[in-house]
Point group: C2
Chain length 326, copies 2
């Protein structure tokens, strides 16, 4: 490993001068600068970030905690975060929490031990003291906390939208899949949808689900049609569940959207590739990730920021699991 000492020796100056040169802090004569730059190039020197981090008590690392990267919604988020950070020369220590408090603790712990300068987390416990006790900036992503910085989309609005579009397209016996109770955005969607349904005086049923996993999605779908075979509109808690519903509906010989309409949530990449392609409420996941990164960076660099809560818009993406309206 080539250190600042080697560079100093090679350039015939002191380490202090090399440091000043590299960090553009303090005066350094043009000739000296040249010698140093040459030495840096010649030795292919790159500063040891660990030593830097130790001295300055902060790194160029941030911690990213997501429930499960295997859930197709999160890679988008992660990618947005990564791009935002990458562009600003921050690196990411990444972990999956599985929504497990223990793991969450462990990760946050090691984040701190590694001097990360900020954390982005999609936790279900934003108000937990794990976060309250942190003395570095935290941004909650796809989650909200009273007044902690966060980036999210309007779940309630999304739920309302889903119900409105479904009603406008003529469904009369709607089934709403209610997502996991401990996941805030899922409940917001549910609330929004139910509100509109109530307002419109539409008959609806509820199917309770407890995860967003592929494995279980199929069982909710089966349960749905077992209990409510005559339903003519399904508002799913996300696109994975919607996909399973679509699959099951077709297996039962139902025509979509003629016999039953389906609306998902998220607009994950696969949605447009299904047959029929899935109508859904789109969340701009990539943008949310990127915004979270930029917000965190502002927080890190400026200590505070005017707009701590960034809400991104949801929108109805009309595809082929809903009927056309004129």
């Amino acid at each position: 490993m080539v250190t600042i000492k080697d560079v100093a020796r090679h350039a015939g100056v002191s380490v202090a001068t090399v440091s000043r040169c590299i960090n553009e802090t303090g005066y350094v004569h043009a000739d000296t600068r040249k010698k140093v730059e040459d030495a840096v190039r010649a030795l292919n020197y790159a500063p040891n970030e660990v030593a830097r981090s130790l001295y300055k008590r902060k790194s160029r690392l941030i911690g990213l905690l997501l429930p499960d990267i295997t859930n197709p919604y999160f890679p988008q988020l992660a990618r947005g975060v990564e791009d935002g950070m990458q562009a600003n020369e921050f690196r990411i220590i990444f972990g999956n929490s599985d929504e497990n408090e223990q793991k969450e603790q462990e990760y946050i712990q090691t984040f701190i031990q590694n001097n990360v300068v900020g954390v982005i987390s999609s936790t279900n416990r934003p108000d937990s003291d794990i976060y309250a006790k942190l003395n570095i900036p935290v941004v909650f992503l796809d989650r909200t906390s009273s007044d902690s910085p966060s980036v999210y989309s309007d779940g309630r609005k999304g739920g309302r939208l889903a119900a409105q579009e479904m009603i406008a397209r003529g469904s009369k016996r709607i089934t709403v899949l209610r997502g996991p109770v401990h996941i805030r955005p899922a409940q917001d969607r549910f609330q929004g949808a139910v509100e509109v349904l109530e307002e419109a005086g539409i008959v609806y049923n509820i199917i309770q689900t407890s995860s967003f996993s592929f494995a279980e999605a199929e069982s909710w779908a089966k349960e749905l049609f077992a209990k409510h075979l005559d339903t003519d509109g399904v508002i799913a808690s996300n696109d994975i569940v919607a996909t399973a519903v679509l699959h099951e509906a077709q297996r039962l010989g139902k025509r979509v959207p003629e016999d039953v309409q389906v609306i998902g949530f998220d607009d994950i990449p696969l949605s447009s590739l299904l047959s029929p392609s899935l109508s859904t409420i789109r969340q701009p996941a990539y943008d949310m990730g990127k915004e979270a990164a930029l917000l965190l960076i502002r927080l890190i660099e400026q200590g505070t920021v005017d707009n701590r809560n960034i809400q991104l818009p949801v929108s109805f993406v009309e595809r082929d699991t809903t009927r056309k309206v004129d």
Copy 2:
């Protein structure tokens, strides 16, 4: 931040003793140990990994470089890696390379600057000197290099399998989608399929594709049927492309699998949720990721290892885009 000094003061001993105690290195009297442990608990002390890393010239961090986490094949890989590392108390610095050499360089660079003790990479240039010059262990994942450690599945076998199953199920005018030429596993699959097709004297066409992206997959699918409308069997380069083919076939009013059979590659989670569900050649992505993690850890801890190349088996997953055979 509470340091080892604070613990020492609180326990009424020297930092050396605390260190010995924590690292279980050297003698320490039972009574002293107790005092130290109490102090650690009381102050909620956790060692600063940065200082450790600086002194020992190595961290508990590894670098993970994937082309694009947004491609649904990679989250599985990433998750496997993460679980393998997590279980052994290693953390991951993660980056997307976009198969871009520049980015790849940058990431590897910063990995080193952060004292990572190993790297896992799905690169298209395993033989590049970026890796050759690294003096920490590297494991290539889903990629092979002459004799560098790597974890992969048998692409050629997979390609052969796809072709065999397709032939066995009666397709006579097969189209093979040839994946990006610079991606080794894609070419292996292609080779394998073509071999079998040639051996069997089956007529086949080739459609060249240059990426695995969702966005472009649809255009390959359109091109396929534009050029070879009468094809009755498609061997896709991966499940994303297969999904697009399936979608396009249905749009054209073709019945799958009656008019045209489709076989994908990878077995990403969505494959089973399509209608009809996708027959595919499965790669055990999660296991591959995990194996890569464990291999890297062996390399890190033992310096060398007997089996440097781990090949995991592929298998045909029979679903509904292929006809049943008796």
